[in-house]
């Protein structure tokens, strides 16, 4: 078994009563650990902050700013092919 930890989006509300703000993402096996990791990674353990963690795949997002084909990463994984990683010629075989 080898499965990647899911990606979470982290939202933090500081001490001053402002709304939760998106601060970044991280990987964690479940929600509880996502919150703990968020504390370690994004607050360096400031007291008195409120943390939300949401699975990235559960976020519904508006359409992109421009019309035109919506690029869905899941449909176009060119990066899965080794040839995607174009190594400079000078470097030689690797």
């Amino acid at each position: 078994m080898s499965s990647e930890w899911p990606l979470w989006e982290v939202f933090i509300r500081g001490q001053h009563g402002l709304n939760h703000r998106h601060v970044g993402s991280l990987h964690a096996p479940d929600a509880e650990m996502a919150i703990r990791h968020a504390r370690d990674v994004y607050t360096r353990r400031n007291e008195g902050v409120s943390i939300w963690a949401v699975k990235s795949e559960d976020i519904a997002a508006s359409s992109p700013s421009e019309k035109g084909p919506l690029f869905d990463p899941a449909n176009d994984k060119v990066y899965r092919h080794p040839t995607f990683y174009d190594i400079p010629d000078e470097v030689g075989h690797m």
Binding site: S2, S25, P29, A61, G68, F71, F84, I87, G92, M94
Partner: protein
Amino acid sequence: MYAQMVKTDGKGIKPREEMTPEEQRFQDRIDAGEKIEPKEWMPEAYRQNLIRQIGQHAHSEIVGQLPEGNWITRAPTLERKAILLAKVQDEAGHGLYLYCAAETLGVSRDELTEALLSGKMKYSSIFNYPTLNWADIGAVGWLVDGAAIMNQVPLQRTSFGPYSRAMIRICKEESFHQRQGYDIMMKMARGTPEQREMAQDALDRYWYPSLMMFGPSDKDSVHSAQSMAWKIKINTNDELRQKFVDQTVPQAKYLGLTIPDPELKWNEEKGGHDFSEPDWSEFYAVLKGNGPCNRDRLEARQNAWEDGRWFRDGLVAHAKKADARRAAARVAAE
């Protein structure tokens, strides 16, 4: 700090008349200073280049933990130990932010990690040099972080939103890195004769590798031109290298240390220093895998990944069990 490895698909800048309407709109948005966000349309080559550049940048942060981590257990005071630990921890954090930025382009962190460990993707060659005495920790902060910052500050304006935001956060956190390095150098350069010797030795070994960090001259490179048109590269390698030398010379003088370049001198006409080129054959040798530490660095990362597999899998298994138990409890309650 990974300009040296950035390369586009090699076709150079596409002339406007050859662009599709989408590509034209895309270029117009970039020219207008708009940020490109993950789900918006982008040319495939732009996406590929960004994944490669951000991925290499992230890998460099992670591999970059190793040469400095080499001294954590030997730091000479409790405060130096704490500072160094915090700095190496920051590098892990920076790697994490950058991987997340790359992930918005549709590649996963594990895929990027596997590409690093198999040698398909590269990291900055500077980390293939060893840290041999305590002054190296100073030199890495002063010169290596100094060179990195020179590249990272303009990248805050890069066209891809998540990359730009990661760079803003990184630059904010990195401001102390170069300073703490220089602080170590000052203590060493003004310390005992042995400490002075260590400081000069560190500068002697790290000077040319630091100049190499900016990559070979690219003023005529079509690859760089496309990256610059897309604003995923902001300055040429030579511009940044010149800026770095001009910034560093007075700092070395202040320390009373000698930059190991007899040709180094101020050129009034160009308003900058003339200096010797690094040995580019060494640069290519290190890129090919023949630096002093290439094998050890990669092996350390491979071991961390392989030895940690049971840990990562164990936590996934627990999360699944806990989920199943919660679901069963809900069913029982209904």
